[in-house]
Symmetry: C2
Subunit: 156 residues, 2 copies
């Protein structure tokens, strides 16, 4: 940009040709989602926007990642911290598929149990939780039955 | 966005009416600059883009922050990790002022000396460095004369 130039001319940076757009992220969770997806290590274009106007959420965040599809574990992690997020698969600038993130009935591996006496924190046992509700998220540990809600949920 | 909708229609998210645009950031340093500016705590719009095409740098990062001006310390921190960055002050969508970040001759307070025996790591003495060169950045400690280059430079 040059002095006097209209900054709106720079708009082309905001569209991706192919990849994934995560929309309707709770603004406060947006950079956490970016961390989960380790976008700082991406070699393709990444766009992160926060505090954007949203009729549904008031303010929302959005993350666009070129040439990348998310894994099921990544989608579940996003659903845990941004239950209202939508996933858009983009192909040649068009929205090919759109879906709201949805927690499965069980969450395995990706969350740590906050009970220090839980067997999953004592021995080499993978964690496993039943999803009780999704927004705010509540999980019950399969082993010690400890219930964790919202901010108590710590991703591994 | 709805399935089939052209993702380019979403372009309006990339312009800010008033604020600061940090352009021509080395892509790898972009999220570090975002951390320095603690953009995750912003209440106004923030846009972060990485791996964008740049004729000058090959790939670049850009950060747009609505309704915010940077402090001199923030500008100096950016200059230390992204010496090619440019600052654009935006007013009513126009570029009011444009400048390349520039390190001053001396850097005070914002950098830690990596010499554990330096007096600044032993007593309550503010750090002070002479800037020897800017890209990659090289600093010499005023007290112990230790020279730090590039990645050795740790921000406080």
């Amino acid at each position: 940009m040059a002095p006097g130039e209209d900054a709106r001319l720079e708009m082309n940076v905001s569209a991706i040709r192919n990849g994934t757009v995560i929309d309707h992220i709770d603004s406060a969770a947006t950079f956490k989602v970016a961390d989960i997806l380790q976008v700082q290590d991406e070699r393709h274009m990444v766009l992160v926007g926060v505090n954007l106007a949203s009729s549904r959420l008031g303010k929302k965040g959005i993350i666009k990642i070129e040439n990348r599809n998310l894994t099921p574990d990544e989608v579940n992690k996003i659903a845990l911290i941004a239950p209202d997020a939508t996933l858009n698969i983009i192909s040649d600038f068009k929205v090919l598929e759109k879906a709201r993130v949805k927690l499965p009935e069980r969450i395995e591996r990706i969350v740590k149990c906050i009970n220090p006496r839980c067997i999953t924190n004592q021995q080499s046992v993978e964690t496993r939780f039943e999803v009780l509700q999704s927004s705010p998220c509540a999980l019950r540990c399969h082993y010690c039955e400890r219930v964790m809600i919202g901010d108590e949920i710590i991703l591994k």
